[in-house]
């Protein structure tokens, strides 16, 4: 199982992804965990960012064939599917 770690930034609510001890803004740049123990360790490390009031609600989600398994995570990573001019997808064009 491949997993990724996400959270929302406290100050503006924006979606963040975990990469090597810190956060990046896009799913493409984020770290993929093939090892459950590594994923859990990252989640524990992320809780430190919660304690420091930088992010809220960190959690792991599953990836398959390079895409999140859940539609919810696909939409979070991109932005509203009905407004492709908004959200992270808008920065890609």
């Amino acid at each position: 199982m491949v997993q990724m770690l996400t959270a929302n930034r406290l100050i503006d609510g924006r979606v963040l992804y975990w990469k090597e001890g810190g956060w990046v803004e896009t799913l493409e740049d984020a770290e993929r965990f093939t090892d459950t123990a590594a994923a859990e360790a990252a989640l524990t490390a992320a809780k430190d960012f919660v304690a420091r009031n930088l992010v809220v609600n960190p959690y792991l989600f599953e990836i398959k064939d390079g895409r999140p398994v859940k539609e919810r995570e696909i939409i979070r990573a991109a932005g509203p599917s009905v407004r492709t001019d908004l959200g992270k997808q808008a920065d890609h064009v």
Partner: protein, 551 residues
């Protein structure tokens, strides 16, 4: 329209400053998220999929041009240039940053707006008929009563920590445009046999996981007794409501487990006690003071004229304009359901454009309706062509009010953290499928309502056709419900059967509608035909090939 008194203004100012301080403390780390969350929710601030979401209260859906301009300004400055009108006559912004929210609240306060009571287990923003003060069929304007309830409930300490949220609606017409029977409590202004005006009080309606229709607990409550009577209901609820189980905490559960007779008895008993203890009676003078704020604009003496029937203007008038109680005036609905657009969304330029239109035509107020449209309540009939031309230029003249493409739809998985499935794209596809106006007009009144999860923000239980998004092992599915209504003939829709896939649901709706067109008798709406024939004939066609494939 209602103006804040000194007290309201100070209260809102204080709340804004209090929240500014709370946000500062949160950002500095002096409050944890667990401590902060209830505080932000009390100020209408949620965390959604992509960002925070701010819900702004619009009591009884009434707004001024000045407020519209302020919303436009906020949309541009702090958001992404647009906002969303909800089924609770609120407005939501989808992208505010936490650090900016105190400033947004400060801006809102300058036009007497706020986000209080848009969340939490309190008496929420009171809603009213969006045709209030204008409808040809109303007894009196219901908003003064809604305002009275708002003032009474706003700060009532006993009601800030209810078992669960509590929603109240007020209407004064026979035609129910405010989904009365789906509210925790509702007040219907009625006349008794002697011609005296009083209140019929309903209790126990709701949607969500377990939908119920409210029933009458007070047949005729005299005017001065209203708050005492409502207080009796709240006390019965406060004492007996289930605080142990979130899903059973709404008054609908209590009301329907006690049953009508027992509930009535308890409320009456409580009401007697309140009366004996000497209770809050609302003196005539106070009611008159509040009513004065809602005094209608000074109508000119005009006569009704024959309205244009030709062309695009005629179509818009036929579908979007309703009779007014004042001769020479009309009520105009501005549809926020352009074909293929996002139901309820409006951008900053449109907000400004509508504000300008209001100023230019002497329109002092506009309403947000629970159907996620806007209403200009007092338009001179002779101005209709010019108003229509303006709306056309703003992209707001879709002539589909009450038709099949006038779909109520919650944000669903495109924005909402609780969603199971997307709802907006399905609404858009349905609207495109039925875009042909002649077909829409032939189909007539048909209300489609859709939610992205069981919370029912999109009123799916009350749709003539309801659609509920569900998650089936990670895939979006859509359940079809038929036969619901939120009007005076209220009913709860019935689930047809197994859900439809994302690419099947629009075809299913199409087949159901076509079956209606074949089966209807003269004068029957979809709902009438469904009530006459039941689910079977519709179910037989809805699944089409799919059903055969599944067997």
């Amino acid at each position: 329209m209602y103006r804040y008194d000194e007290f309201d203004a100070r209260f809102v100012r204080e709340r804004t400053e209090q929240f500014r301080f709370q946000v500062e403390r949160r950002l500095k780390g002096e409050l944890t998220e667990d401590q902060f969350k209830p505080l932000r929710l009390m100020n209408g601030l949620y965390l959604q999929l992509h960002a925070y979401m701010l819900r702004i209260a619009v009591p009884y859906g009434t707004l001024s041009a000045r407020q519209f301009r302020k919303l436009a300004e906020i949309a541009r400055k702090y958001d992404k240039g647009y906002g969303h009108f909800t089924t609770r006559q609120n407005m939501q912004f989808n992208w505010p940053a936490l650090k900016d929210v105190p400033d947004i609240l400060g801006e809102l306060a300058t036009v007497e707006m706020h986000c209080i009571q848009t969340s939490g287990n309190c008496i929420r923003n009171v809603t009213a008929d969006h045709f209030a003060g204008a409808a040809a069929d109303e007894i009196e304007d219901p908003r003064p009563v809604a305002e009275l309830i708002r003032q009474w409930s706003s700060l009532h300490p006993e009601f800030s920590f209810l078992p669960r949220k509590f929603k109240i609606a007020v209407i004064a017409a026979r035609e129910d445009r405010a989904a009365l029977r789906y509210h925790d409590a509702a007040v219907e202004i009625v006349k008794n046999a002697e011609g005296r005006t009083g209140y019929r009080v309903w209790v126990g309606g709701g949607m969500g996981r377990t939908p119920y229709l409210g029933y009458v607990v007070g047949d005729f409550v005299e005017k001065p007794d209203l708050l005492g009577f409502l207080e009796a209901i709240m006390r019965v609820y406060n004492e007996n409501g289930r605080r142990d189980n979130l899903f059973k905490a709404r008054i609908k559960i209590l009301a329907h487990s006690l049953g009508e007779t027992e509930m009535r008895e308890r409320v009456l008993r409580e009401f007697k006690e309140i009366k004996a203890a000497g209770y809050l009676q609302v003196p005539e003078a106070e009611r008159a003071r509040i009513a004065a704020y809602f005094a209608p604009p000074e109508f000119e003496t005009l006569t009704d004229e024959p309205l244009p029937t030709d062309g695009d203007l005629g179509r818009w008038i036929a579908n979007n304009v309703a009779p007014h109680k004042q001769p020479g005036y009309a009520i105009a609905t501005i549809s926020l359901k352009p074909i293929g657009g996002v139901p309820g969304d409006i951008n900053a330029d449109q907000l400004d454009g509508v504000a300008q239109l209001m100023d230019d035509f002497g329109l002092t107020e506009i309403r947000a309706s629970h159907e996620q449209n806007l209403v200009l309540p007092h338009v001179r009939q002779k101005d209709l062509p010019a108003v229509f031309a303006r709306l056309t230029a703003l992209g707001l003249a879709t002539p589909n009010a009450g038709l099949i493409t006038d779909i109520i739809c919650c944000p669903g998985l495109d924005y909402c953290d609780l969603a199971n499935a997307r709802s907006i794209p399905i609404a858009q596809e349905i609207a495109k499928r039925f875009a042909d106006l002649e077909r829409q007009e032939d189909i007539g009144e048909l209300k489609i309502k859709m939610s992205g999860c069981i919370n029912a923000c999109g009123h799916h239980h009350a749709g003539h056709i309801g659609i509920l998004g569900v998650d089936k092992k990670g895939v979006e599915y859509y359940q079809l419900l038929l036969g619901g209504s939120a009007a005076e003939d209220a009913s709860i829709g019935e689930i047809m059967g197994p859900g439809f896939g994302e690419h099947e649901i629009v075809d299913a709706v199409d087949r159901v509608v076509e079956a209606y067109r074949k089966l209807r008798q003269p004068g029957e709406r979809f709902l009438d035909t469904y009530r006459r024939l039941g689910m079977e004939p519709f179910k037989n066609v809805a699944y089409g090939e799919q059903l055969h494939a599944a067997h």
